[in-house]
Symmetry: C2
DNA sequence: CCGAATAGATCTAGAGCCTAGATTTATCCG
DNA sequence: CGGATAAATCTAGGCTCTAGATCTATTCGG
């Protein structure tokens, strides 16, 4: 911060080493100079110089728990450093169709505050393009500002904001304009939020689910490097994490599932929650259900997916048939995507993961029985409704981590 | 080379700058210190130091055509440097099912020598796993050694060898063992070739086609960053270049096309050349062809794809119908892959690009007529039979370019 | 043919960053 | 309280970079 370098200069080396140390600092609770020496191969003098540098910049804190931890027995106790997790924060905004949730989290990803607003529903008929876009941008900004306020951090400490939307998003943060829904849910948040943080990024919600799942997996042992995260509910979207990185495609449309209308045994890109209801209603109205059918007693107008699952649990044959059909459908989708992309694992989130676990069980069984040696494993997301927000946080943290040294973390005004 | 560094040291900076300069040197014919200053933002003194360094290592030559080129008008003429393209070479081996072709190329990718051998055909019945594997490894080594010998370069100048095989290949260069064909065509070349070059890499042939097409496109203007390269002949394989990088998947199986048996209007992963012959034979044997049909006159036992195309060109209705069917099939494949991966462009190589251009024309027309706003463009590869070899060369060059400074190029023994 | 004008090459300090090794400091242990 | 031990600090020296002065090769106009 104190000096801006033209091109490359002697200080570049220092910056490089600082980067290496800081990056490792993210993965541990605290560390000593000896740890950093092992990480980097640098001399103790150098490492200490680098750490001092990072402390001065606000990235590291010197934590004096050398004796408290009890990690050592003999010799002079080592100074210990730790990522200054309260020095800066990031914000993740889950900007869904009918609600928005902003989460403020520290540099470790621990949520500090959360704020939610509901949004009036819109249909292609009731939409007012410009007004609704403007309203949505205002909702987003207000939700984020509320979350920041209730977290109690200085707004200047926000280094990055990530917004998750249910639409494909290209490198510049835009969604294709030829679709009313995409245009509605991604009305160009960039300019509205630009003032709130040095980094603002829009991202597809399924991609964020993929990132969230990856972060969780990494937490428990080794990360999986190729998997697909599917958001299955009213529609189907997917985030493709292949070879350890997210596949976006030309216009951010990678993972779109329209092609399912050409797959045998699928035939449409509809979401399984939608189909579950549609098939149940069809069965009820067909009048072919047997006398005491549980499914038959449901009201077609207020019926929900979970009602069908309950009926099936209670042994209703027609409900079981619907879930079986949905399970087979999901299995076929997994096989197709798994084959083309050679992934290990498909993680399903969205409405279906919560409301229709039996569908996922059924699809798992079908996959296990298949003779395909490369059939992927299928699991339900365990992240629940905060999944997209969590992914947004982790994505934002990744952005901060990448460019950490360009972003001095706040002016270190201790509260 | 003269000193091995422990961890990071002051010399790291020099290495970093050398890397930057050298990397740019690859993209230009020759350059002056002023050019390098613009690239790197370094001082003239520093740049000249770096260039001297690279000349001493053998990567650059000082070319004294300052006045010959006529690039300047006034002032002291600048010293000019150029990548020493003859200082080192790479080898690409196209290791197909029934033949192998090795190509030796200089650091610019210009072919210097080529050597081909035919390989006895094998079927699941006639195969002798161990003996055939050993024979194939020997063929590969011999073909490469022949090509190097006929190129006249010192074998120690070979910095990298890439082998392209018609099978999925994982990070370690292995193909899944559960398939006789894959096991046959990739019998583990790594250990056999390890002595011939410091870098040896096995890669899938469709991936190499993708790299070759990318290198060609980059040559003529800006490179496309998301496209699919398909090798269509007896089977269909594809190389997925998305967001500027090759998608491999867990076991290197990304781009496999077995899932096509689940796509409506396709139904099998068979190659279009195979189907073309099969359908033609079926038509001939069905006895339903009209009296003077050109197609009817062909001998089912010796018929080739190009015969069908010729018949269609001459107006034969049955032949035209076959090509139309093939074209529709190809269009559907493009739509499915294009949708899931959001690619701009599908490039088709293999037997079909040469023998059945009408199929590609027909598929192009179908795609253009489709109401899909994201339908990819379809083009035939123009690289011909050397495509895989060219891709192998470019892949090897990429590897050399990445690790250039770890590989001093030869001992500079001028011929 | 000669002397500006021009632009690249070289030279000279000086500063930053790193290493290696000697010295000092903080702590445990008997 | 005096080793033993491991971390921190200090010192000297080397490498690489920058900035700016000086030198050199060439064109061009008179």
């Amino acid at each position: 911060m104190d000096r801006v370098l033209t091109g490359s200069s002697p200080q570049v080396l220092r910056a490089l080493n600082a980067r290496r140390v800081l990056d490792h600092a993210w993965d541990v609770d605290a560390f000593t100079a000896s740890d950093a020496m092992a990480w980097t191969g640098l001399t103790r003098s150098t490492v200490i110089g680098v750490c001092d540098h990072l402390v001065r910049q606000g990235w590291l804190d010197e934590v004096d728990d050398a004796r408290a931890v009890g990690d050592y027995r003999k010799g002079r106790p080592a100074r210990r450093y730790a990522l200054s997790d309260r020095a800066a924060v990031v914000v993740g905004l889950d900007a869904g169709y009918d609600h928005m949730t902003a989460t403020v989290a520290d540099l470790r990803g621990t949520p500090l505050a959360r704020s939610t607003v509901g949004i009036p529903a819109r249909t292609p008929e009731s939409i007012d393009r410009l007004a609704d876009a403007e309203a949505r941008r205002a909702f987003a900004r207000r939700t984020i500002e509320q979350a920041i306020a209730s977290s109690g951090v200085d707004p200047r400490q926000v280094l990055a904001i990530t917004v998750g939307v249910p639409a494909p998003v290209d490198d510049a943060g835009r969604s294709p304009g030829h679709h009313w829904f995409w245009e509605l849910v991604n009305p160009g948040f960039g300019s509205t939020l630009a003032g709130l943080a040095p980094i603002v990024q829009i991202e597809n919600d399924a991609n964020l689910l993929a990132i969230a799942e990856g972060a969780v997996e990494e937490g428990r042992g080794r990360g999986v490097h190729s998997y697909v995260a599917m958001v299955v509910g009213e529609g189907i979207g997917s985030g493709l994490m292949i070879d350890g990185r997210l596949i976006r495609g030309r216009r951010g449309g990678a993972g779109e599932m329209r092609f399912l209308d050409r797959v045998e045994g699928v035939g449409s890109p509809d979401g399984l929650a939608l189909l579950c209801r549609a098939w149940a209603i069809e069965a009820i109205r067909s009048g072919t259900l047997p006398e005491g059918s549980l499914l038959g007693r449901l009201d077609p107008d207020t019926l929900r997916e979970s009602d069908v699952e309950e009926a099936a649990d209670a042994g209703d044959a027609a409900a079981i048939a619907i879930l079986d059909r949905l399970g087979d459908r999901l299995a076929v989708i997994c096989l197709v995507v798994g084959d083309l992309l050679d992934v290990d694992l498909v993680i399903v989130g969205g409405a279906i993961a919560d409301a229709l676990p039996a569908v996922i069980r059924r699809a798992r069984a079908t996959l296990a029985d298949s003779d395909d040696p490369t059939a992927p494993e299928l699991v339900a997301s365990r992240l629940g409704p905060e999944a997209v927000g969590t992914g947004a946080i982790h994505y934002a943290l990744g952005l901060v981590r990448e460019r950490a040294l360009d972003l001095a973390p706040g002016a270190r005004h201790v509260a």
